[in-house]
């Protein structure tokens, strides 16, 4: 059984400290200081209008007390309606302004976070777990926006109400305000005690709940496997255990909150009693009217809600700050220039200078590479691919094929040795190389969206042309053509078809160098034949490196390189290697023998 702790990915991405986080948020807010000021002033005005209520109510009491009421009561009633109306309108207007501003700042922040994250070196993304990045750009962003849209208005309103009520009390009589403040030490004590311990308890609750959520996700996604192995009980028990643990911890959380609430209630009583006693004394000595004493008590009674809201949301604010520091931690990477520099054009289009016609060659010299200081994945690998020719990489899993392919494609840099594309004097930018990876990923959105990733400025005709060229004309027969929504919630595609689209993207991007590390074994004979044709068109006239997931691909390449344990075992043309009678020849023989019809490719 897994423990909750191990489910949280180890964060190796940085987290900003509190001071840096604050500075960054202030910097972003400062850019909008006029609008922020206007919004806050409007909200303040709204609160002030609402706070006219207690003195007006006090005024009614006074009007009755001094017997001159008849004439004044309706006027005071109208004043109440006016105060409410002005308060509601200003609160609405100020709220609108504030929410627009906050959402704008937030959007700016999350866009910067994403921009930085997506430009991090792939190795950084992978070693720190893409789940850490994903959880920052989703969960942390959501936690912060939730706090910004739910907690912020409430806190603003509560602070204004508290501040202005104290002012109101002081205007009635300073001594009344001071009496009200008697409860302050209790508040401070309660809040400090609560925050000191809530951090851990609520952190645990969130962790346990996310462990529970993960258990749900895995069981839902793996339902068929669970049925096949009849492990329903195991998964249901696991889920039950996690959820019971979460409930138990929530009980601790409620205990904590109850103690906090208890102290707040004590403070409320203390303050209210003090205000009443002071009012009693002041009214007795004639310093204030009965109406003023009433207004003071009502003012104070009105504070119960806002004070509870303000202090209660300190925990949410603390949580949002944690999320913010994780976000700022990422944007700060950008300040420190830890990013993958994509060439200026950015869209994967080759420069005019290195565009069609000029096919560079690939030169790899003495390259060694190890993942995170582990066992070396590549040792002293050298190879040369002349311009416009193709090289196939063959080897067992773990022999380093994909690692080599990625280095050639310019993703990651070798620990030792060099990878040069083009001439040594004027090497091509990484954008001239295009890697089709083993990962099969269907992007959200429409068919056109999936294709335009490789070339955002392509017109519909270009998209159709690339699809036909890649032999993926079937895609145009989908319900809504290029506008068909694919993937979850849309038309499902099998892995072979998704790879087919990946090949169409290469034709769209039209790079001079292409590295193919795609596995098409998933598809049936018919799709396979189509893909084979697409592969041929993708490599034609380009300098290409192909990771051979099927030996057919090796035979069609100009040259073959066999890797064993990260080292070059043999290289040459298909025929040379067959003649040499080494590892490749043995492999080919086994493959050849396996085919009932002989060495010919599978006929559809």
């Amino acid at each position: 059984m897994t423990s909750a702790q191990t489910d949280t990915p180890v964060a190796t991405l940085p987290v900003a400290d509190a001071r840096r986080t604050r500075a960054e948020i202030l910097r972003r807010l400062r850019a909008h200081r006029r609008r922020l000021g206007a919004a806050l002033l409007t909200l303040l005005g709204g609160t002030a209008a609402t706070l006219a209520t207690p003195p007006v109510l006090g005024g009614i009491v006074d009007a009755v007390a001094d017997g001159a009421g008849r004439g004044r009561v309706p006027a005071l009633g109208i004043a109440l309606v006016a105060a409410t109306a002005v308060g509601a309108v200003l609160a609405y207007a100020g709220g609108r302004m504030l929410v627009a501003l906050v959402q704008e700042v937030l959007a700016g922040l999350r866009e910067d976070v994403f921009e930085t994250a997506v430009h991090l070196p792939v190795n950084t993304l992978e070693s720190s777990g893409s789940s850490d990045v994903v959880s920052r750009v989703t969960r942390d962003v959501e936690a912060v926006s939730e706090a910004a849209s739910d907690v912020l208005p409430e806190v603003t309103n509560a602070s204004f109400t508290i501040g202005l009520s104290l002012v109101g009390l002081a205007v009635l009589d300073l001594r009344l305000a001071l009496a009200g403040l008697l409860c302050l030490p209790v508040h401070v004590y309660a809040t400090r005690q609560f925050l000191r311990r809530s951090h851990r308890v609520y952190g645990d609750i969130r962790r346990l709940e996310s462990a529970r959520g993960q258990s749900v996700i895995e069981a839902v996604r793996g339902a068929e496997s669970i049925r096949a192995y009849r492990t329903q009980d195991h998964h249901l028990d696991d889920l039950a255990e996690r959820s019971v643990r979460a409930i138990e911890r929530q009980r601790d959380g409620v205990g904590l909150r109850n103690r906090f609430t208890g102290l707040l209630n004590a403070a409320e009583f203390l303050g209210l009693a003090a205000v009443l006693v002071t009012g009693f004394a002041l009214f007795g000595s004639g310093a204030v009217t009965l109406g003023a004493a009433t207004a003071a008590a009502l003012y104070f009674h009105r504070l119960f809600g806002p004070v509870g809201a303000l202090l209660g949301s300190l925990d949410d604010i603390q949580r949002a700050t944690v999320g913010l520091s994780r976000l700022v931690g990422i944007t700060d990477l950008d300040r420190h220039h830890v990013r993958y520099e994509e060439p200026a054009q950015g869209s994967g289009r080759p420069n005019e200078a290195q565009g069609a016609g000029r096919r560079p060659d690939i030169d790899v010299k003495g390259v060694s590479y190890a993942y995170d200081g582990g066992r070396p994945a590549l040792r002293e690998v050298s190879l040369h691919v002349p311009a416009g020719t193709s090289l196939a990489l063959v080897g067992a899993s773990g022999s380093g094929k994909s690692t080599l392919a990625r280095l050639v494609a310019g993703i990651g840099t070798p620990d030792r040795g060099s990878v040069t594309v083009g001439s040594a004097e004027a090497p091509d930018a990484p954008a001239s190389r295009y890697l089709v990876t083993q990962e099969v990923h269907l992007f959200g959105g429409t068919l056109a969206d999936n294709l335009r990733l490789a070339r955002p400025d392509a017109g519909d005709d270009q998209l159709r042309h690339a699809l036909r060229e890649a032999g993926a004309g079937w895609a145009l027969d989908l319900d809504a053509g290029l506008d068909t929504v694919l993937g979850a919630g849309g038309s499902p595609l099998d892995d072979g078809s998704v790879q087919h689209l990946a090949l169409a993207r290469v034709l769209l991007a039209d790079p001079p160098v292409v590295v193919l590390d795609e596995a098409t074994a998933e598809s049936g004979p018919q799709t396979r034949a189509l893909l084979q044709g697409a592969l041929a068109r993708v490599t034609a006239g380009r300098t290409s490196v192909v990771v051979a997931h099927r030996l057919e691909q090796a035979r069609q390449a100009d040259r073959v390189l066999v890797l064993r344990d990260g080292e070059v075992a043999e290289q040459g043309t298909h025929d040379e290697l067959l003649a040499a009678g080494g590892e490749y020849a043995a492999l080919w023989a086994a493959y050849h023998r396996a085919r009932p019809g002989g060495g010919a490719p599978v006929s559809p």
Binding site: I60, G77, A85, A88, E111, G129, S131, H234, Y340, S397
Partner: protein
């Protein structure tokens, strides 16, 4: 809705689900007590302004020091009861709510994992929201009941207090409450609908971010990082607009509610002012009325949310009920006694194939599918994931239809091609039902290098096995299938994500194992290792043939 007369199926009606959330496991009694505690709390909250009025009326106005002490003591007593009742109630609610949600979640999950499968199976996104959000909302009825009951109590208390002070005022408050309920319900519905739609668009940025970051290798490979960032900006902007619009709906709603309750307060204050001027009520009573009016303002705003609160919960309960009442895909067994399957070999009669296939212990049989979809279909049939015809699969002489899926799966293991890797250790993934890892099996599945590389069998494989590559995951799935002690292991294209060298070794490894294996594959390398290869006829019409392709000795 559940058809009548099917006692085996659970009742998925809205009422039944609310009963689970509210009444099961002693929750009924707890909720009853909690509601009383919350009512007491609300009653005390309403008493505070009343007591303020009393203090002013009985102590302050006549300058009576003794009365002040006594009434302040009474106020203190009210605060003690107020605080304790609240604490009691909220502790108890965590248990009620937590375990109510827990039970609903377990029920929903049990249905999703039902061995008989479901006739309409929700997609994984829908299933997730059913198991997490909908159970959460349905369980929330306990909060609704308790809070709404106590708010109504508070309003009732205040009205009674007002009725005692003055009949017209009390009636006015009750009328005001009803009016508020009606108006806010009217206003809230269109606003709610708009707000929900906008909240949906607010989630857009997260979706796009997840999509692009999980596909980062593909994005980086095609140098499309800048385009990815641009797309995120667009999505983020959509989200921003959605969030702003949603927040504005909420602001409009709360603004209106503030306005209405303020007007209510003003009307009440003016009316009581007149009554006081005319001497119908005392000044102290006036203060009490004003205090109560302030208190009622908050309570009425809460009343305004009642309607929408229940709309959401009912919608969730309906969705959850559809899942729980969903009929099974595979008809449940007749209740008659089923003979224990004997040791006779397994017999499989693939639909459209001329003669049945007998699988003898130790056989390694290859079956060539027409296309990937066909392979999935064959493996679904052998895994009894779809309804089977009588006579299609015989296990030890007993028809699979009589045994039912769960018992069939003890004898035939046919995991899906896209199997799931679970977070946890490699060991837990290899032998999910417990037991030891068999080195012969991991060797045959070419998994030993993976075991070494990730740091042993007790190393974690990460969420969805993210620490493993696609090929490594596939070998793990293969080894898991081979670890079962079933009579027959059915493998559906088990080596599509590995290179030819590894595939060759897996083929040899499978030959070396004593298990009975049915390989559904188009791969010549794997087929070459089989004792027999069966090519299933066309789309069911062609004459099938069974042959021994290479006559290789095993």
């Amino acid at each position: 809705m559940t058809p009548p007369g099917s006692p085996t199926r659970e009742d998925g009606s809205v009422a039944a689900l609310f009963r689970v959330a509210l009444l099961r496991d002693g929750r009924g009694l707890r909720i009853g007590l909690t509601t009383v505690a919350f009512m007491v709390h609300q009653l005390c909250e309403a008493l505070v302004p009343v007591l303020i009025g009393v203090v002013i009326d009985r102590a302050m106005a006549p300058a009576d020091r003794t009365a002040l002490v006594w009434w302040l003591a009474a106020l203190g007593g009210v605060f003690v009861v107020l605080s304790l009742s609240y604490q009691r109630a909220s502790s108890s609610m965590v248990t009620v709510y937590g375990y109510g949600e827990h039970e609903l979640r377990q029920r929903a999950m049990t249905r999703l994992l039902d061995p008989l499968s479901l006739r309409r199976r929700p997609g994984s996104g829908e299933a997730l929201s059913l198991v997490s959000s909908d159970t959460y909302r349905v369980a929330g009825v306990s909060w609704s009941v308790v809070q709404q009951a106590s708010t109504l109590t508070a309003i009732l208390t205040a009205s009674v207090a007002l009725l005692v002070i003055s009949l017209p005022l009390g009636l006015g408050v009750i009328a005001g409450t009803v009016l508020m309920l009606v108006v806010m319900r009217r206003v809230s519905m269109p606003l709610e609908a708009r707000g929900l739609a906008e909240q949906g668009s607010a989630a857009r940025a997260s979706e796009v971010a997840t999509d692009l970051i999980t596909g980062i290798r593909v994005v980086a490979g095609m140098n499309a990082r800048a385009e990815a960032a641009r797309r995120y900006r667009t999505a983020s902007d959509t989200s921003r607009r959605g969030a702003v619009a949603a927040a504005r709906s909420v602001l409009a709603y709360s603004g209106l509610s503030q306005l209405l309750s303020g007007v209510f307060l003003a009307a009440l204050a003016t009316a009581s002012g007149y009554l006081a001027v005319d001497g119908h009520i005392t000044i102290g009573q006036l203060v009490t009325v004003l205090g109560l009016a302030q208190f009622l303002q908050g309570a009425l705003a809460h009343v305004g949310t009642f309607a929408s609160n229940w709309i959401h919960k009912r919608a969730s309960a309906r969705r959850l009920g559809t899942l729980i009442g969903e009929p099974p895909l595979i008809e449940p067994l007749s209740t008659g006694p089923v003979p224990e399957p004997g040791p006779a070999p397994l017999r499989w009669h693939p639909p459209g194939h001329g003669e049945p296939l007998d699988l003898r212990p130790g056989d390694l049989v290859g079956v060539v599918p027409h296309h990937p979809g066909h392979a999935r279909d064959l493996s679904d049939r052998l895994g009894y994931r779809v309804p089977l015809a009588r006579g299609e699969l015989l296990i030890g002489g007993v028809d699979a239809v009589d045994l039912g899926p769960d018992r069939v799966r003890t004898r035939v293991v046919a995991p899906p091609h896209h199997g799931a890797v679970f977070s946890g250790t490699l060991h837990a993934n290899l032998v999910p039902r417990g037991g030891a890892v068999d080195p012969a099996v991991t060797g045959a599945a070419m998994l030993n290098d993976v075991r070494e590389q990730i740091g042993g069998d007790l190393a974690e494989v990460g969420e969805h096995g993210r620490r493993l590559s696609g090929g490594q995951r596939q070998r793990l799935l293969l080894a898991r299938a081979l670890h079962t002690d079933a009579d027959l292991v059915v493998l559906d294209e088990p080596a599509t994500a590995v290179d030819p060298v590894t595939e060759q070794r897996i083929a040899e490894g499978l030959r070396g194992l004593p298990s009975t294996i049915l390989l559904i594959t188009a791969s010549p390398i794997l087929l070459s290792a089989c004792d027999r290869v069966v090519e299933l006829g066309g789309t069911g019409q062609d004459a099938p043939e069974s042959h021994d392709p290479n006559g290789l000795p095993r």
